[in-house]
């Protein structure tokens, strides 16, 4: 795979030269070369088979302090040169901005082969037939798991090997590589006249580290069956437990509020609150760009800033926002190493520090409440911090799961939720770039009958 890395770095160098020739005074270029495989099986048939190599280039150009970007899948010299001229011309219409510019010079280590566990060599080596057989086996497993499983939306197995290189006009040259695999299943349970689909998937840097195909299949079946017989709950205010994956979606919304760009633009309920107690003392939020084998792990970020471990919220107190170079300068802070390769600010490995015990322990400690297995809807109220989502899950009474519930809403504010977290399980797993253990919020509004 060294060839893809070499190719990526050479293309980045070429892009820097072309954008400079077009008139940029400073620039950086990111090249990504990805080999991706995906297969899907449904029932006894292989229904999708995809394999491709894709290349993409993204260049940030500065003309003085005016900022322009280009992104292209046409990495030919002529294609890049034409786009470079276009974007440099457009930069003349951008305002002068004293904060715009590259990161301050960073010592470059050429090829950045820090051993952060981002590559599992077994990924590129594994035969497609084995992955296809795994997808077929997951289909068989979901069919045989329970007689109520009447259908399936398909089982999927994917992998990728991605090389990406960054070069800039201040001498930074770096290249790194990551592998990723995923398995997912989507069985459908028949529930009288209703259908209940159960989605479950997992991802990791390598096949051995990922949850096994039978485990993924059974987990998905469990999710489909968990909601059989669900009814609409009463409108009430009760404790709400978020199961691990649902908890991660809450954390993704919290991350967005710590994004320095949103903070500067007033689009965050956390703006101007550094040093304040926001969460319960149980709540510690960390972003760790160097977590060994993490799906968001990389030696440097999309601007060449070395990644590190950042404590964003320490036992409930907001310590820092998460930033790239530009928005950090606007806030008077240095980059936290969270510049995304695609532009903007992104999580590396952002997580809520785990507590102890299990999801079952949280349920057993709940006199009356709701276990949320799944939410639908989006965060649209980042400025105000209002939380309102559709949800599905299990109604709990006297510490025992009683019956499935669906077609209801859960509502609160993010501030009240973080302050109200009164139990965190120990079931954290790094199968995404934003993850959380299961947790309980002391009280939320359930909108139902």
């Amino acid at each position: 795979m060294a060839d893809a890395r070499d190719e990526a770095l050479a293309l980045a160098d070429t892009a820097i030269a072309l954008i400079s020739a077009a008139g940029a005074t400073d620039a950086d270029a990111i090249v990504e070369i990805g080999d991706r495989f995906a297969c899907e099986a449904r029932d006894r048939e292989v229904t999708k088979l995809e394999r491709s190599r894709g290349r993409s280039l993204r260049v940030r150009a500065f003309v003085g302090t005016r900022h322009a970007t280009l992104a292209t899948t046409d990495v030919s010299r002529d294609g890049v040169a034409a786009l470079a001229r276009r974007v440099v011309a457009a930069a003349a219409f951008v305002s002068e901005n004293p904060h715009a510019g590259l990161a301050d010079p960073i010592a470059s280590d050429g090829v950045c082969d820090h051993d952060l566990g981002t590559v599992d060599i077994g990924v590129a080596a594994r035969a497609d037939e084995e992955k296809i057989d795994e997808a077929l086996a997951m289909e068989q497993a979901v069919r045989e798991a329970d007689e109520r499983i009447a259908n399936s939306d398909g089982s999927r197995v994917r992998d990728s090997v991605v090389s990406w290189a960054l070069a800039n006009t201040r001498g930074f040259r770096g290249v790194t590589q990551g592998t990723q695999v995923s398995r997912a299943a989507a069985p459908v349970a028949q529930d009288g006249a209703n259908k209940r689909i159960g989605h479950y998937g997992t991802a990791a840097r390598g096949w051995a580290a990922a949850e096994s195909a039978p485990a993924v299949a059974l987990h998905a079946v469990h999710r489909a069956l968990a909601l059989v017989g669900a009814r609409k709950p009463a409108t009430m205010r009760v404790p709400v437990i978020f199961e691990r994956d649902a908890a991660a979606t809450v954390l993704a919304d919290v991350f967005a509020a710590t994004n320095a760009a949103n903070v500067v633009l007033g689009n965050s309920w956390l703006a101007e609150r550094i040093g304040e107690r926001i969460g319960n003392e149980r709540v510690t939020l960390v972003d760790d760009g160097r977590l060994r084998g993490g799906l968001g792990t990389s030696p440097f970020d999309g601007e060449g800033t070395p990644t590190r471990e950042i404590v964003v919220m320490d036992r409930g107190v907001l310590r820092t926002f998460v930033s790239d170079v530009y928005w950090g300068r606007r806030l008077g802070m240095t980059s936290t190493g969270n510049a995304s390769g695609g532009g903007g600010i992104a999580a590396n490995n952002f997580y809520l520090a785990p507590g102890s015990g299990t999801l079952d322990d949280l349920v057993a400690a709940t006199e009356r409440g709701v276990l949320v297995l799944d939410t639908i809807g989006f965060a649209t109220e980042l400025a105000s911090g209002t939380y309102s989502r559709g949800a599905r899950g299990i109604y709990i009474e006297d510490g025992v799961p009683r019956y499935a519930v669906d077609e209801f809403t859960i509502a609160s504010t993010f501030g009240e939720m973080l302050a109200g977290i009164d139990g965190i399980a120990g079931d954290l797993r790094f199968d995404g770039t934003i993850v959380a253990p299961s947790f309980r919020v002391a009280e939320m509004t359930i909108g139902g009958v």
Partner: protein
């Protein structure tokens, strides 16, 4: 700018794709150039240009699809993609393909001059006007973010049945997001518009009007009450309320879910799925609309589809693969985000035509309820049909009158259940602003929605206040 591939080359690639057999193969070529300017904090923050250029080769055998794409457009690279896509086929019966030299032109659906780049100064001026208008609206406007984007996508679809179709699709968008602030309270507003037209559209739909509307929504929420929680009658506002149709019905009628039997609407054509006041269309051929396509991403003309007629389910939205398996014709609904992805059956512009009630009659019929005038988006789970959609602007209804504004909340319901509760339909049908994008299976495509003012006799509201 390369706008199409050579026909003889396409024929060789298609022959290669079918060398192991298959029902059909197609090549999707795309060259898209988009330019965006962004304004933040009163200044032009960034100019960006994006090129998405490449081709994808697909081989279909029954319900099986093989796919591979290439960023390189030389013959060797395209043949490699054809080889990779052909691995899905196993019967080994090779087919020769002849591609017609007379390409079928796509029907004209867009303004003739749309897609020609304007002076950069024009885009910058639009943004500056939006910024000034939003800030002048109210001193509590603390932040304005706006963008204007202009793209032109050339597509060419060659199919092993011999057809080659091209389309030249313009798309413009202007969006204004504001944050209004009063002490520690912050509220946002967002309004956008555009369509498959040229930026001349913003001479008519002015940036000032969009900015003021965005600022109005944000400032109204500063003084708003908590939305109630629980079941109440809900009036869905004309225009963006069409998100209800998109989520509650539209996704569930996409052919892939129905062919596989995973949608709650599977096998129910001809059955009652809504009150008899409900008729829903999905149109791909509305002039200049954001969700329109002269031809879809499989080369089939965009068209008018009746999804639900007076409460009776009439049909699904079909792409080629699913239409073949279900024994019907494609409805021009095969769409994809880019050449790197397989097409899926998708919505275009989904809307409900006018009924007979006046909006005043509808609001006046409710003793206590909610009037949701605009919506920011939604989501659906297609197997049982539970959906949510998010209120951007809403008011309480008390004794038949619109009273206090309420802050954003989610509405939750079940598709057929909600559609059965449509008890009044207004005469004021209209399409929403052209600012919606739909996500499915990791692919985003531009869509349109529309609806007249509609009464749902009951719907669950996800606020925190008392209902």
């Amino acid at each position: 700018m390369l706008t199409a591939l050579d026909h003889a080359l396409l024929a060789r690639v298609l022959s290669r794709a079918l060398r192991r057999g298959g029902d059909f193969a197609d090549v999707f070529f795309e060259n898209r150039l988009a330019q965006t300017f962004r304004l933040q904090d009163g200044r032009i923050h960034e100019a960006s240009s994006i090129v998405v250029r490449g081709a994808g080769v697909r081989v279909v055998v029954g319900q099986r699809a093989g796919y591979a794409y290439s960023d390189d457009l030389d013959e060797a690279a395209l043949l490699r993609a054809a080889d990779a896509a052909s691995l899905i086929a196993r019967d080994g019966r090779a087919q020769d393909v002849v591609v017609a030299l007379d390409a079928a032109p796509a029907p004209a659906l867009y303004d003739a001059h749309a897609g020609e780049p304007a002076d950069s100064a024009r885009y910058v001026d639009l943004l500056a006007r939006a910024d000034a208008a939003a800030r002048a609206f109210d001193p509590r406007i603390a932040s304005v973010n706006a963008f204007v984007a202009d793209e032109l996508q050339h597509v060419q679809i060659a199919s092993s049945d011999g057809r080659v179709v091209t389309d030249r699709r313009p798309l413009v968008a202007l969006g204004v997001q504001v944050v209004a602030r009063d002490g520690a309270q912050r509220e946002n507003g967002y309004v956008g518009d555009g369509g498959r037209t040229s930026i001349d559209v913003f001479d008519r739909t002015t940036p000032e009007a969009l900015a003021r509307e965005s600022a109005r929504i944000a400032t109204i929420k500063l003084g708003a009450l908590e939305a109630p929680a629980g079941e109440l009658p809900v009036v869905i506002g004309a225009g963006s309320g069409g998100v209800l149709l998109h989520e509650a019905v539209g996704h569930g009628l996409e052919a892939d879910f129905n062919r596989k039997g995973t949608s709650l609407y599977s096998g129910r054509v001809g059955e009652r799925v809504a009150s008899d006041l409900v008729t829903i269309f999905d149109d791909g051929d509305l002039h200049g609309e954001r969700g329109s396509v002269a031809v879809d991403d499989e080369g089939v003309p965009g068209q008018h589809k009746v999804l639900v007629e007076n409460g009776i389910l009439r049909g699904y939205m079909q792409d080629r693969l699913n239409a073949r398996l279900m024994g019907v014709a494609s409805t021009g609904s095969g769409r994809r985000e880019s050449y790197r992805m397989l097409p899926q059956p998708r919505m275009c512009n989904t809307f409900m035509p006018a009924g007979t009630s006046t909006p005043d009659e509808i609001v006046g019929s409710i003793d206590r309820g909610l009037y949701a005038t605009s919506f920011s988006g939604g989501q659906v789970e297609i197997s049982k049909g539970d959906f949510v959609f998010m209120i951007a602007e809403g008011y309480l209804i008390e004794h038949g009158k619109i009273t206090a504004p309420v802050r954003g909340a989610t509405l939750v319901g079940n598709g057929p259940d909600a559609m059965t509760k449509v008890t009044m339909v207004g005469h004021d049908a209209r399409l929403a602003n052209r600012s919606y994008t739909c996500g499915k299976g990791g692919q985003r495509v531009p869509v349109g929605v529309g609806i007249p003012t509609v009464k749902l006799s009951s719907c669950t509201i996800g606020g925190t206040g008392r209902g």
